[in-house]
Structures are given as C-alpha cells and as structure tokens.
C-alpha cells in the first residue's frame, strides 16, 4: 500500500495484534409467525447468515449496506442484546453467546454501544449528568470520583458540564449524540459498536461528531465497529470495510481495496450510486442502476443472493453459492465473476 495517511499507518501498526473482537459464522434468524390465534411458526427471516469478521484493537471496521441487509442485527447480536441463532462472538478470547446477564455485565464494561437515534436512546426523565453517570453506578464505580468523571466526560465530548442538570430534550440532535458518546465512554471501553451514529444529523453537525469520534479513537485507542449506510462517511472514518447484502458479507478489504478496486458487482453499484459534491466530476460519472428491489430475507434466492439484480448473473450463480475468498483481487469477494473496477 502506498498510502501514508495516519489511519493507514495505524492500520499497519495494529494489524499484528490479535483481534479483540472476532465474529465466527454468526447466524441470526427471526421466527415468522402466522396471523392466526395460534401463532404458528411459518418461516424464518434470515437476517444474518453465516458472517465472520474480526476487529483489532484501535482500528475501525465499517459494516455497510442498505436497509434490511442485516447490519444492525449484526451489531445487536454482537452486544448480545438479541441472542444469536448460532455462531460465535469472541470478545477478548471469550465467547459471549450463551453467557448469563451477570457474566455479560462484566464484558460490557469493555464493549459499549452508541445508537442511531439520539432522541430515543436517552431517557427523557433523567438529567444528562445522571444519564452519563448511570454506567458508573451500575458497575459500582461512581463512588470513586464519579461526579468529577461525569463533568470531565461531558467536557471531553464538547458539552458544557454546567448543563449537566438539563434534560435531553433541551439539547440539539448533535449534542444528544455527544451525550450518548459520553455515556458509552464512561467505563473506558475498548470497543464501541456505533450503529449509524451520524445518519440522523445534518451534515454540518455530522462532521463535528465524526471528528470527535476520530479524535477519541486516536487518544483512547478505541476500536470501532462502525455500522452505516453512508459510503462517504465510511470511507472517511474506516480502516477496513465489509459490504453486506441480504444477510451476507459480499466483499471485505481495506478501505483502499474496497473504494479503489471494488470487485463485487453490488459494491460497484453502491459506489457508483453515491453522488459526489463536485459538479464536473458528477456530470461525467455513470451510475450503475440496479433493477428491482432487494428480495425478501424470508425466502432468499438460491446460490448467490445478488443474482436476481446482477448484470453478470449466469446459470452457475443460481446453482452454486460463491464463497467469500480472494479470487486474485487481493481481498475476499463473494462473486464467481469478480473483477476489479475503479468507479471514481
């Protein structure tokens, strides 16, 4: 890699370290019940189907895809907010699947989450200093200079600690998201799962939160699992990227591999569809317009799940599911006809 950006250097530095979070063959099916009085199980929503990836200390892994691809379910399953159907979630060498609430509490000191909606994820009846203090209280750590910690945490994320006795509704969207970040940082975690942390914010506000997350990572050595649908934000903040489609990872690699040598047709279509705020460039670009819609996850297509919308699809795509392996592109791609293409 010729890139010498700080993020790339950081990625190189951390690549030798063992992964702090490792997801192996994770599957999550939600039962689908009939509408009658007796709720009979009529099928399964295949939300996440056999995905594996790892996250190393200090790095940011972007999980991107469109709505319904299973990226948020993946996040929730990692946090054990919903139990996985099968598969392993190894955090610092321990498998979290099947652990009791009490065992999980200890783990969650190092594994925290920031949710998308800053309006729904903060208790409207609690002053923000109590919201930020709550994790410390739950873990019995508030006695140890808890008040000072809360004040400092609020200052760290760019809020005025004097406003600690205000309620969430008195803050703007961007400020609320900062409160959520302060709460997640309270226990000094090692990994943050960020589930669409900036997509509800206006761009000028979003930029501030993105910068804050980057600076915190640099200072505190946090690892981020960054779940998002906005490919521009992901390019800005992530070291490595995994692209999801209908519950599967279709392509994964370093940021430059994905953005400069995208090899899966779906990744290519996604990248070509993102508008760039540059009039001359944008007028020249050609969009790959996909036909139709994402198929239902209740009854996913046989073979390659993308074949129903793919312009390269042939008979083999319906018969044989392409494995996520390196096919000579330098990074794993799940496509029988993978071919790198530059779209920028």
């Amino acid at each position: 890699m010729t890139s010498t950006t700080p993020a790339a250097e950081q990625a190189d530095r951390t690549s030798a370290a063992p992964p702090i979070l490792e997801v192996k063959n994770l599957v999550k099916h939600y039962p689908l019940t009939g509408g009658g009085v007796i709720r009979r199980r009529v099928g399964d929503v295949h939300a996440v189907c056999d995905i594996s990836f790892s996250l190393r200390p200090g790095e940011t892994l972007g999980l991107v895809g469109e709505s319904g691809c299973g990226k948020s379910t993946t996040g929730k399953t990692i946090l054990q907010l919903t139990p996985p159907t099968s598969g392993e979630v190894n955090f610092q060498g321990e498998n979290l699947a099947g652990k009791t609430r009490k065992q999980l509490r200890r783990v969650r000191r190092n594994l925290q989450v920031v949710f998308q909606d800053p309006y729904a994820s903060l208790n409207p009846r609690m002053p923000v200093s109590d919201i930020v203090a709550e994790p410390l209280i739950i873990h019995g750590l508030f006695r140890n200079q808890g008040k000072e910690r809360v004040r400092d945490l609020l200052t760290v994320v760019g809020l005025n600690p004097e406003h600690g006795n205000r309620y969430a509704h008195e803050f703007s969207g961007g400020q609320r998201q900062r409160i959520g970040i302060a709460r997640a940082l309270a226990l000094k975690p090692k990994v943050l799962v960020l589930d669409e942390p900036v997509s509800a914010l206006d761009v000028s506000i979003q930029a501030g939160v993105v910068n804050l997350l980057e600076e915190l990572q640099k200072r505190l050595g946090l690892a981020y699992l960054f779940i998002a649908h906005d490919l521009s934000v992901v390019r800005h903040i992530c070291d490595r990227v995994a692209v999801m489609y209908l519950g599967k990872i279709v392509e994964t690699g370093t940021r430059d591999q994905i953005y400069e040598r995208a090899s899966h047709p779906y990744t290519q279509a996604l990248l070509s569809a993102v508008p760039i705020p540059d009039p001359k460039l944008e007028r020249q670009r050609r969009r790959i317009v996909l036909e139709g819609d994402v198929p239902s996850p209740v009854n996913p297509p046989s073979g390659c799940r993308f074949r129903t919308r793919c312009w390269k699809a042939q008979d083999i795509c319906a018969e044989q599911e392409p494995a996520l392996v390196d096919r000579g592109q330098g990074h794993p791609v799940a496509c029988h006809f993978a071919e790198p293409r530059s779209l920028l």
Binding site: R149, D152, G208, E215, E282, R287, E291, D293
Partner: protein
C-alpha cells in the same frame, strides 16, 4: 436587493425569459411563542428547461418556499411577495384558479411516495385521474397515456403494473410512479421536494436516473429541493443556498461549488465527507446550531457560527450582492476574503474533543482501583 435578474442575461444568454419569477417572498407563521419568520425574502428566476437546486439544512425554509409557490401552506401562514408565473401572480389567485395551475402547469413531487399515492386505488387509475382532471380526452386514451408514462419512468411491464396497487410497488418504483404522475400534463415546472431523501442509495440512483430522463423528455424546468449537495451537483444548472429563511448564495452550479463566497456554503461543502477523498482531509464542522426563526437578532443570521464574524456582521444583515469576477451573488460583508482557493479547514476549526479534559479524566485514576467496590456490590 440585488436579485438574480441582474446577472441573468449573462448567465443564460438570449432566452424567452424566465418561466417563474419569485420576488421577495416572505412566509410567517403565528405561533404561541411568537411569529416564526420561516422565509425572509426569497427572490429567484427560473428559466424554461433549467434545473434549479435549492439546498439547505433542516429548518432553512426550503420546503416552505416550495409550498408557498404551490399555494399549499395552511391558512394560518402569512405569505407576502410575488410569485409570477407566466405573468400571473400565483399568490393572488383563488383556490379554483390555482387548481387549474397545480398539476397541470406546475407539478410537485413529495418526499414520501407512500403518502402521495392513494393506497386503495391502482397506480394506473391514479395516473388516469390526474390526466382526466385537466384534459378532456376519452378514458381509454388516458389509460394508454398512463401506461406510456410508467414505461417512460422505467417501470418494467408497465401495462401489467398499471393495474397494481401502491403497496405492490417497491419504494423506488413508487417514487417513479409519482414522477410519472407529475409528468402527466406536460407541466412547465416540476418541483421535487427531497425526492430521494428517504431512499437507499441504489434506489436513489434509480430515481435520479428517472429525473434525468424527465429532463430529457420534457421541456419542464425543475426545482430540486434537497439537503444533499451531491444530488444537486450532477443535475442542477443553478444552485440557491438557503440559511435561516434566506438565500445566502445564488449562482451557476460550478461557481457555487468551486468558488463559494459565503462562509456557510464553504463550511457546508467542507463538512461533507467525499467518496472520492482518501479520508485524510479533516471535515469542517460548523459550530453551534441554526438560529431560532422566532427572535432573529439583527445582523447576519450566520454570524454566531461564523469563524469570520466581526462586529459589523452583528449590526447589519448583508444582502445578496454580486461577487467580483464571478457570475453569482453572495450575502456576506467579507465575501472577497474567500476569493482564490480558500480551503474550508483554513477558515473553520476542526478539532472537536476537549483534549485537556481528556487528560484530566486520565488523571482521575484508573477505574480498576474501584474494583473492590464492585465486588462488594455484587456480594450484596
């Protein structure tokens, strides 16, 4: 007030004159807290066949402007100014006269396609109704036209699909059906209010593709309202940037993007992460929040968030004025200071975390020291 008319001849050459002219449009809503000045003087001219992009963040008044043009605001709204369409001031028309203009000469596409379609009628029927409302033609012919339009906007098997209900359409197809409906009577103007905002990128690509096809196949001028500067970049001929109910910069697209002369536009462009950037460039957040539109202080509404702000900015609100050497107008007392290749991160602060506080937090001792307390609690 320096309006866009001053530079219109230079920008567009000899043309038949604008199809729509908005002059000093203001919209106010009385509320319990006081008067909300949602739109505070918008003026622009739309040339036939052109695409005008109106960009701004939530609450900047861009949607209210479009609703005012269409006469769709609630009765409580106080609308002043002039919206001149083919020599008639739309703000003076009564409901009956407006109905003849709406849908026929000026059509509108809303953000949420599910709420613009009626769930209990087939899509074809709704298109047919839109045609029959303004044209005196046999039903069969209207149906034929409906199918043609669905085909034009890229709906596969249009003949069959026309008999389907909105819920049988995917999000992208619904929005395309709404676009087809806007085209039914070959309008002079189509106003698209955030047409792709609720959609995924691949679906957004389908809709933008359709809008481009509309642009090629009709002579309609398009007003594209969006918060996404990327969407506007590829489509618009002209861009109007709104802030706190007022246009702060108007001009040809390239000029606005490559040579912004209002700090807000510069900051907005700098705050966007770009797909084609390596990721090393810092983003420039704009500190603070847009002002409340109830009690606007005198002076420039952007001044509290502006890194270039000076005492004069708080005393007098700048009006739109031509920018030297450029073909556009900007509302900033110090627009000239942004001449040349000024980068957003040279003007705006980019650090976010309070590093001193972070250090203090570190000095408070590690959380591990408190471990016994936790064990104690668990025993209890």
């Amino acid at each position: 007030m320096a309006t866009i008319e001053q530079r219109a001849p230079a920008a567009t050459g000899a043309r038949a004159g604008p199809v729509l002219e908005v002059r000093d449009l203001t919209v106010e809503f009385p509320t319990d807290d006081g008067m909300v000045h949602a739109v505070r003087g918008v003026s622009f001219a739309l040339e036939p066949g052109d695409v005008l992009g109106i960009v701004g963040e939530s609450g900047s008044g861009k949607s209210v402007t479009s609703l005012a043009i269409m006469g769709l605001l609630p009765r409580s709204a106080r609308v002043h100014g002039e919206v001149s369409f083919r020599g008639r001031n739309l703000l003076r028309l009564n409901e009956k006269e407006l109905t003849r203009v709406r849908g026929r000469q000026i059509a509108m596409i809303f953000q949420d396609p599910m709420t613009s379609l009626n769930p209990v009628y087939t899509v074809g029927w709704q298109l047919q109704e839109a045609i029959l409302a303004h044209q005196d033609i046999p039903k069969e012919q209207a149906w034929q036209r409906a199918v043609e339009l669905l085909d034009l906007v890229g709906i596969p098997n249009a003949m069959e699909r026309a008999t389907g209900y909105p819920h049988e359409f995917s999000g992208g197809m619904r929005q395309r059906a709404v676009i087809a409906m806007a085209m039914t009577n070959d309008p002079d103007i189509i106003i698209a209010d955030e047409p792709t905002t609720a959609l995924d990128v691949t679906v957004q690509a389908q809709v933008l593709d359709t809008l481009e096809r509309v642009q090629e196949n009709t002579s309609a001028a398009i007003i594209l309202i969006t918060h996404d500067l990327g969407v506007v970049a590829g489509m618009a001929d002209e861009v109007l940037v709104m802030y706190a109910g007022k246009p702060v910069e108007i001009g040809p697209t390239d000029g606005i993007y490559y040579d912004p002369r209002m700090p807000y536009t510069l900051g907005l462009l700098g705050s966007l992460p770009r797909l084609d950037a390596k990721g090393a460039e810092p983003l420039t957040p704009i500190r603070g929040a847009p002002p409340s539109l109830i009690n606007l202080p005198p002076g420039c509404p952007f001044s509290p968030r502006c890194p270039m702000s000076r005492p004069h900015c708080d005393a007098e609100e700048p009006s739109l004025r031509p920018v030297a050497g450029l073909n556009h107008v900007a509302a900033c007392h110090y627009a000239e200071e942004l001449a040349g290749d000024v980068r957003a991160d040279e003007v705006f602060e980019t650090t976010e975390a309070d590093l001193r506080a972070l250090e203090e937090l570190g000095q408070l001792g590690t959380l591990e020291e408190a471990e016994p307390a936790e064990q104690e609690r668990e025993r209890a």
